[in-house]
């Protein structure tokens, strides 16, 4: 039963998470706001990649691309950010 409605469950979860992101943008989270907003975005992206882009059943070569690419982006963003804040 759950498997039959898997896509619907994922879609509802994504919308719920988007609603949480939106609501939290009005909370006073200070410096944690960036981490919270991007953390929820990362959860949503993972849900889409694993379930809707079917990485769950994908060969290792495809999974490797899906894992390595965002990690490279994260590294680049991290280096750029650290460079500025450590000056």
């Amino acid at each position: 039963m759950v498997a039959a409605y898997r896509i619907e469950l994922v879609a509802l979860s994504l919308m719920l998470l988007a609603g949480i992101s939106w609501a939290l943008s009005h909370a006073s989270l200070g410096a944690a706001a960036v981490v919270v907003a991007l953390g929820i975005a990362a959860i949503k992206a993972t849900l889409i990649a694993v379930e809707l882009m079917e990485l769950r059943d994908a060969p290792t070569s495809l999974r490797l691309i899906a894992i390595a690419t965002p990690l490279f982006v994260l590294l680049l963003v991290g280096f750029a950010w650290v460079d500025v804040v450590s000056r």
Partner: protein
């Protein structure tokens, strides 16, 4: 010679196409990664200018457009499920719905852009919007906002065309589930990128 030459089987040909598309999506992600790198460095240097810029975004259009793209992801995924189950008409309707949602996104984004142009929130920092002494970083924010969201909007436009072409092909019987799966992968990536663009340019109104 088979139609899937040089591959040994149709399955092998489909897998090669899938791998090729994933490599393309990876290059797309790295392309947007450059914008995210710029955002991180510039925001770290000018937190006040970026917070001020984000506050000028239309929160409602940003939020509704997020839901529109997520709904599009649902329809394209359920179209694939329908086609695999042999429900071709249902797949056509769902793919057409995805194309319509992409057009809705572009329409709303167009309204927002019109407001920005009206208020002078455009790259160049030569309009009244910026005033005589704009907050440091505000001009960089505005330029980055336009480049990132416009490039993303072009991707949504491509997503609309792909969905419409797939719906037509599905109707004529020339499209297989494999083709819808490939088109769906592209749509989902456009959605995933927006899920990061949205907080960066609409939600993070604080000075952090």
């Amino acid at each position: 010679v088979t139609t899937h030459a040089p591959f040994a089987s149709l399955e092998q040909s489909d897998l090669a196409a899938r791998l090729g598309l994933w490599v393309f999506l990876a290059s797309e992600l790295l392309f947007f990664g450059a914008f995210f790198v710029l955002y991180a460095a510039l925001r770290a240097e000018h937190p006040a200018g970026f917070a001020e810029g984000v506050a000028h975004g239309d929160e409602w259009i940003g939020g509704i457009n997020t839901m529109v793209l997520l709904l599009g992801s649902y329809f394209v995924a359920s179209a694939l499920r329908a086609l695999r189950a042999g429900h071709r008409t249902s797949a056509v309707v769902r793919l057409a719905a995805t194309a319509m949602l992409a057009c809705t996104f572009l329409f709303l984004k167009g309204i927002e852009y019109a407001h920005h142009i009206e208020s002078g929130m455009i790259p160049g920092a030569h309009t009244a919007f910026f005033g005589p002494s704009p907050t440091p970083g505000l001009a960089s924010y505005v330029t980055l906002y336009w480049i990132t969201t416009a490039v993303h909007a072009i991707h949504v436009l491509v997503g609309a065309i792909v969905s419409a072409v797939l719906a037509l092909g599905c109707m004529r019987g020339t499209v297989r589930a494999h083709h819808v799966a490939l088109g769906g992968l592209y749509w989902h990536l456009v959605d995933v990128i927006w899920l990061f663009v949205w907080p960066l340019f609409y939600l993070l109104r604080g000075g952090a």
